[in-house]
């Protein structure tokens, strides 16, 4: 019996763990048989392995008949709210429709069954695809050259940090220039990856407008400044209008500027990183460019640079071969060390390319503008929702593609938190929103990014769900706090994954530690509800 007007009920298969479905003798698939002549010629090679190399006992994998494996994973897929099945407005994620046509093209043998080292003569189609998309990305971003080697946004940003490092190193300045400036609402990777690359990180806090002011940046700049790495608009959906001044100030101080375009959806065809003065940038192909998110990965980052940085890009680069074809340039030169094996997640490149080709320049602009339109529609409606406040009231600009709301007032008046709302909303058949990344400066945060794919009816469905929860918070707070009620699983004991005595990351660990879950001697866990 559903507890909301939509009548939504998540599938709840209570599907056992695969290891518990094992039946002796069952087989899911039979590997190819070895030809009798081969077996006769070489014998049982496994048996003649040196003792130290041979496995003592077969691995304890489950034995499951084929159709049961299929059913198992299909049932699991039914308990998963991908964008294909329902509205997902998770902030900072840029959820959008991943067109099926692109999937079908990518799954063909001419892309799926390519070996990266099979030789450029047999990969001309792939190289042409990458080359064309490179040119497209240059036009979109105002950069001069792209690599698609990094396998995610964070890895793309790390690549930017490595490029900055290589640049200063080439000028003998690395010892002197060891500080990267970022902002609190840039993605955590904008602070983490420069730290991993060996830089000191200076984080600018937001002022009353919700973004850092020029005077804050000026205070942070010195002759130790190596660069600026930030997201704009930030994860709050607010564009920092001083961005050009930021870039100029960092350039004057001798630093480089890297534009994390994770939130680039509203800027497609509207603003280019190159025109804003940036020296390099990165885009998430699995966000902005519609390649599917893949349950947290088939990620790919497009990292673009201005001409003077081209020599530092990791190899190989795709280049024209001078006779109408393409080649891979492996000449290391001053290229930074490889970020990832081979040339990149080419399936994501194909899908991104297809998406841009389908839309064209006018379409890209429509994507950006519609994302902003949809977001401001959501904002208009949510403003009036009881318990919702919009932080940084001094900032009167319309937001761009996402909004970070606050349920602080709802919490104060009812005790219902943003995490309660997040847990409760899945009962309405929609994917939940995300609160905030760290630092969670906004109390009871709730970040919504509708993207450009959704219809008005789908946005209204989400609004209806949130309104219902708001109403519930003010009339029956306990109910609002107790969700979800119709999800694929009942509420879990959240301390277990945080407790070293209880956590279990494998079936083996689970069997060993399960008794501890009900023990009297469990330790008290101080934990938090995080921002993910």
């Amino acid at each position: 019996m559903s507890t909301n007007k939509t009548g939504f009920q998540a599938a709840r298969w209570n599907e056992a763990l695969i290891s518990e479905l094992s039946e002796e003798g069952a087989r899911g698939i039979v590997p190819p048989a070895v030809d009798a002549e081969i077996a006769a010629a070489v014998g049982d090679v496994a048996a003649s392995l040196p003792p130290g190399a041979r496995r003592a006992a077969p691995p304890d994998l489950p034995e499951v008949t084929q159709h049961r494996v299929l059913r198992h994973f299909l049932r699991l897929s039914q308990m998963c709210m991908g964008f294909d099945v329902t509205t997902d407005m998770m902030g900072t994620c840029t959820m959008k429709y991943s067109p099926k046509a692109h999937e079908h093209i990518a799954r063909g043998a001419k892309l799926a069954d390519l070996h990266p080292l099979q030789g450029v003569d047999s990969l001309q189609g792939l190289l042409e695809l990458m080359y064309r998309f490179n040119r497209i990305m240059c036009e979109i971003s105002g950069m001069d050259e792209f690599t698609f080697q990094p396998a995610s946004g964070a890895q793309g940003i790390y690549t930017n940090a490595c490029l900055i490092r290589a640049y200063h190193e080439s000028r003998g300045d690395l010892g002197k220039r060891d500080e990267i400036i970022t902002t609190s609402f840039s993605h955590p990777a904008d602070a983490a990856t420069p730290a991993v690359a060996g830089f000191k990180v200076i984080t600018l806090m937001p002022g009353e407008m919700g973004f850092a002011g020029v005077d804050a940046l000026k205070a942070a700049i010195s002759d130790r400044t190596a660069g600026l790495m930030l997201t704009n608009p930030e994860d709050t959906g607010q564009y920092n209008p001083n961005i050009r001044q930021f870039v100029d100030l960092v350039h004057e101080a001798g630093g480089l500027c890297a534009y994390d375009q994770a939130n680039g959806n509203p800027l497609l065809g509207v603003v280019r990183a190159g025109d804003t003065g940036f020296d390099m940038c990165q885009f998430n192909l699995h966000k902005t460019f519609s390649a599917p998110h893949g349950s947290l990965g088939m990620g790919c980052a497009a990292v673009g640079v201005k001409d003077f940085l081209r020599k530092f890009l990791p190899r190989p680069l795709v280049a024209e071969d001078g006779s109408g074809g393409y080649r891979l340039d492996y000449d290391q030169g001053e290229g930074i060390d490889k970020i990832r094996a081979f040339i990149g997640n080419v399936h994501a490149v194909l899908k991104a390319y297809s998406w841009v080709m389908s839309l064209g320049a006018e379409g890209l602009r429509a994507v950006a503008e519609t994302a902003v339109l949809n977001n401001n529609y959501m904002l208009t409606k949510m403003r009036g929702m009881r318990g919702v406040t919009i932080p940084w009231p001094a900032n009167n600009y319309p937001k761009l593609e996402q909004v970070r709301y606050s349920f602080e007032q709802m919490f104060a008046e009812t005790g219902v938190t943003s995490h309660d709302v997040i847990d409760r909303m899945v009962d309405f058949g929609v994917q939940h929103c995300m609160p905030s990344h760290v630092p969670m400066l906004v109390p009871e945060p709730f970040t919504v990014e509708p993207g450009e794919s959704l219809t008005v009816a789908e946005m209204d469905q989400m609004l209806a769900a949130l309104q219902a929860i708001s109403d519930e918070a003010y009339s029956d707070a306990e109910k609002a706090q107790g969700g979800p009620y119709n999800a694929s699983t009942t509420r879990i004991d959240g301390d277990v994954p945080e407790d070293p005595d209880c956590w279990a990351f494998t079936y083996r660990g689970y069997q060993r530690k399960k008794p501890m879950w009900t023990s009297e001697n469990r330790r008290k866990i101080e934990r938090h509800d995080g921002g993910y």
């Binding site: 209570n14 998963c80 099945v85 001419k110 189609g125 995610s152 064209g360 600009y397 990351f505």
Partner: protein, 465 residues
């Protein structure tokens, strides 16, 4: 767009005039451009970008893109013997079915209650890998094997509070590059020499380099050249005696037959996910994993998301949640020593399906079959005049080196000639390992039948004559 005539396209419904005008009205602005006032005019693009003409028709788009990639030759219609970190194995239909499911394909950051199925599939990936490697903690997928190795060796350094890393010399050039870049600021990396005869690490050289500064020792099993290391337990003892941690890299597809490194003393295991039911995608199928014992001092250093099981509200119920996120760069931000983000979870799900289908017998059969086919191929090739297979007397899995020195031909020439016969020859090692001269790394898997191997042998014979 930018006027209320809108833009009609299947991917952007609200750009059409009717919803566009309605939304503008609800928001209270005349034009979408009014919503961009925070963006300075002078930064905005004037007019439209200069992009190729649009292909809004799905039919036209498919023709266009398929024509481009149609210029590729695929490993489905050509005989492929390339390996070197990405391998052609059989991808079961059910793996494709599941990795193609829209629910998994288009899920992302959903949590305990909205994406229970994804979480369970991930937990099962962790579990099944754990069985193969003999360890109780397995993380969610890394970007690739190199990233897994980077995370693992730097973890080991943090755990031991030491800076030194010793890498086996039998590691790919690409991986050496990845490690060099990542560890530049935090670790001192040195190489363990290889024994010329066996192609495996020289234990004397290892011992001589194992100072009290060394935190991590890394070797692969099988190594980059396909050679199988049987002295794992002995190496573990040597490494531990010096106070360092042993990190072993594996091809999980070999572990139906090869020893689980957790059983012979590896502290951290890294591995590739691609061989487990994932198409090569020109290298896009690559993903990695790391695993260790369940000890707080190890778990606290994992950089990636860890999926833990947890009890539900009723007897027998369970769910899953991301554990201890304060380990990760999501929380640590500028205090991070490693970074986390979207990686390759979909391939982890595919691998969970693969391992569920294969079971212990399947894994044992595929590995032992590969051992047989590889040996058959190596022995037949070795008989050819002008070429020889390195370390023929050693045990090797899936890959071996062919030395073309005596043939007078370069690997490039040979590969070009093989291509004419519809064959992709092995990876040219002459640049990566100049000491091997004109050598190539050949890969034989369960997809190669006797006919395929014989065809390679005959083609090589023809090319060399």
């Amino acid at each position: 767009m930018s006027d209320d005539n809108g833009f009609i396209h299947p991917y952007v419904p609200n750009a059409a005039p009717v919803p566009l005008r309605r939304l503008l009205k609800e928001i209270g602005v005349d034009n979408v451009t009014d919503l961009y006032v925070s963006v300075p005019e002078e930064l905005q693009v004037k007019g439209l970008l200069n992009l190729p003409d649009a292909l809004p028709s799905e039919h036209d788009l498919r023709r266009h893109v398929e024509a481009i990639i149609g210029k590729n030759l695929s490993c489905r219609d050509h005989l492929n013997f390339c390996g070197a970190g990405c391998w052609q194995h059989y991808v079961p239909a059910i793996c494709d079915e599941i990795t193609g499911r829209g629910e998994f394909l288009t899920a992302y950051g959903g949590g305990t209650y909205s994406d229970h199925g994804k979480n369970q599939a991930m937990f099962e990936f962790q579990s099944l890998i754990g069985e193969l490697v003999g360890l109780e903690v397995v993380g969610t997928p890394s970007y690739d094997m190199g990233a897994a190795v980077n995370s693992a060796v730097t973890m080991a350094c943090r755990i031991t509070a030491r800076r030194g890393v010793l890498l086996s010399g039998a590691v790919s050039g690409d991986m050496r590059s990845q490690i060099s870049g990542f560890t530049k600021m935090v670790a001192d990396v040195d190489t363990i020499a290889l024994d010329a005869a066996s192609g495996l690490i020289d234990l004397d050289d290892l011992k001589s380099k194992l100072t009290s500064d060394i935190g991590a020792v890394y070797f692969e099993n099988p190594n980059y050249f396909g050679l199988i290391e049987s002295r794992g337990a002995e190496i573990a003892e040597i490494v531990h005696a010096a106070g360092a941690l042993l990190v072993v890299g594996v091809d999980p597809l070999s572990l139906g037959v090869l020893a689980a490194p957790g059983d012979y003393g590896a502290d951290i295991v890294c591995g590739q996910i691609q061989p487990l039911g994932i198409h090569m995608y020109g290298g896009g199928g690559c993903a990695g994993f790391i695993a260790s014992r369940d000890e707080e001092r190890f778990v606290s250093e994992y950089p990636m998301i860890l999926m833990s099981i947890a009890p539900g509200a009723e007897e027998g119920d369970f769910g899953f949640a991301w554990s201890t996120m304060q380990r990760t760069s999501y929380d640590k931000r500028h205090d991070s020593e490693d970074y986390a983000g979207t990686t390759q979870w979909l391939w982890g799900i595919g691998a969970a399906v693969y391992l569920s289908l294969m079971g212990p017998r399947g894994m044992e059969e595929v590995a032992s079959g590969i051992l047989q086919r590889t040996r058959y191929a190596a022995e037949r090739i070795n008989e050819l005049k002008g070429i020889s297979v390195a370390h023929l007397d050693s045990a090797f899995f899936k890959e071996f080196i062919i030395d073309f020195a005596d043939s007078g031909k370069s690997v490039a020439e040979v590969n070009a000639a093989l291509l004419v016969n519809g064959i992709f020859g092995g990876k040219d090692l002459s640049g990566e390992f100049p000491e091997f001269g004109q050598s190539a790394l050949y890969c034989v898997t369960e997809i190669h039948g006797k006919k395929d191997i014989d065809r390679l042998v005959d083609s090589l014979a023809e090319v060399l004559s």
